[in-house]
Subunit: 307 residues, 2 copies
């Protein structure tokens, strides 16, 4: 229930990190690109094939190191419906390899519309009395600007499926403060969002004490994370911003509870694009990604011990 | 530039309304469903075919009455990649019939991720030096919780393409106030969002005085719309909540400027599902939708004259 499945996987691997699968075509090594464009042509179909081969290689290289992957929907929608088809394949393959899949979709809509998204991404559409699954991720990210109406339908869908969600609270980007840091009475807007989210999911706590509705809290604001960890004791955190965006292992350590539970740290380019820093031509992309994932695990392990 | 294309279409038709294309399989008349399930099977492929036939009939029936359609992405993602392929087809067909297409995607992400979404939905992905278009809508809806980083990449993509966006400001749902109505200094959170949005797009005004970044302002909060119309004089409004959700023609009239410009009112179920109220079996769905769209135009015309 709730985040138990993910926390169990993290404990088994002693590694509270998730690898982003956010492939732009430029991130794919030349030899894979060339082969794909030769086989499928230099347009959308070739790009989809190249990224699929790259994703599959990354998943194979990472699946015994990291407990989870996080495909970012934007990079698949970028390639239209063909990209979405490949996203379905990527999610399915990652799950076959034992990975927990967080689909980073940041959807936010209301009522029956939110329910339609939740069916597509988590529980499956009901057609002629049959449940038809599509993207079938284990977890999705959500945007709660529209209020609890935009979160509850996902919790309903997730409940039946033993799945969970992360709601944007304090994001890692430079402009995040423009709305999120505004003073609202005795709180800031992102604290209001975090409080609302914890309240909506109250009662869904699993064996580790965390509800089904986690929060996204950026590593680039470590003081905010420290304070949020105290404030939202039943909320599991997804922490972006480690590495390329400037967050350090010491920064992200603030997201964990005293058992080393309650959080997972994301790295995307740092792992996916590790091959660009080895001096090679990309044939070593899988090994480079694996080495980077191991280095990240060790780096965070200096500050966080998962009990 | 900016909202000029849409405002020109609205003026030509003297009709400031947009028809939602948010088809759930339950909204499709029985005879269309039965034929589609017989041809493609009772699963996702049959549902996609049924909704495609329904959408095409609606577009044919409405294209000389309404200037625009608004497909809601949730109802297509509900059916996985097959639904997304049908969404691409629906957008293409609506544009062929002269309609302006607002893709209701409510995406909100940052930097290069936002740029990837913007390429997929507006300007096309760049692959091997070629621009490859996919969804290719005229306009999208966005969620600005992450700040200006989440809006600017879309404005960049839209600029080159003579397209535009709508950012969520004050939404029409019951829970919208939980975050949006919070007092933040001398403003409310949704006013902060609206001000930020108008500032980001300053300098992109077209011939009607409106920037490229419009705002979603729900018809269910008419006093808020009235006050926002005064506050954001360069912001074009998309107004959901008319009809089924309780907003009246008098309510939505507050969204328009003194020339009857600067806003467009959405109706989804009121038009799509009009056939369910005629007492027929759904064979008249196209005529029922057309009659409902004409009735809506006349209803709003009592309060708004488009000059």
């Amino acid at each position: 229930m709730s985040f138990d499945v993910l926390q169990d996987k993290i404990r088994a691997m002693k590694n509270p990190t998730v690898a982003g699968l956010d492939a732009r075509i430029e991130y794919v090594p030349e030899h894979i690109r060339r082969a794909a464009f030769e086989e499928r042509g230099p347009g959308l179909e070739g790009a989809v094939e190249a990224i699929w081969q790259f994703n599959r290689g990354l998943i194979d290289a990472l699946c015994d190191i990291v407990p989870a992957v996080k495909p970012q929907a934007a990079y698949y929608e970028n390639l239209g419906w063909r990209g979405m088809e490949m996203l379905e394949r990527t999610i399915r393959y990652a799950k076959e390899r034992g990975l927990f899949v967080i689909a980073d979709i940041k959807r936010g809509d209301i009522g029956s519309t939110a329910a339609a998204y939740a069916e597509g991404w988590l529980s499956g559409a009901k057609i002629e009395g049959q449940v038809c699954k599509s993207f079938d991720a284990d977890c999705v990210t959500l945007n709660g600007y529209m209020g609890s109406d935009s979160i509850k339908p996902f919790l309903e869908a997730a409940k039946g499926e033993d799945k969970c969600v992360f709601v944007l609270v304090k994001t890692s980007n430079p402009g995040s403060g423009e709305l999120q840091d505004i003073v609202a009475g005795d709180r800031l807007v992102y604290q209001v969002m975090g409080d609302l989210n914890e309240r909506i999911a109250a009662g869904t706590e699993g064996k580790y004490g965390y509800t089904m509705a986690g929060a996204v809290t950026g590593a680039t604001y470590p003081d905010d994370i420290k304070q949020l960890r105290k404030r939202l004791e039943h909320t599991f955190f997804l922490v972006p911003g480690y590495g390329a965006q400037g967050g350090t292992a010491a920064d992200v350590a603030n997201a964990f509870d005293r058992y080393g539970h309650g959080a997972i740290v994301n790295s995307s380019r740092g792992i996916m694009c590790a091959w660009q820093k080895t001096g090679g031509d990309g044939h070593d992309f899988a090994r480079a990604a694996r080495d980077a994932a191991i280095a990240m695990k060790e780096d965070i392990g200096q500050f966080v011990t998962v009990l």
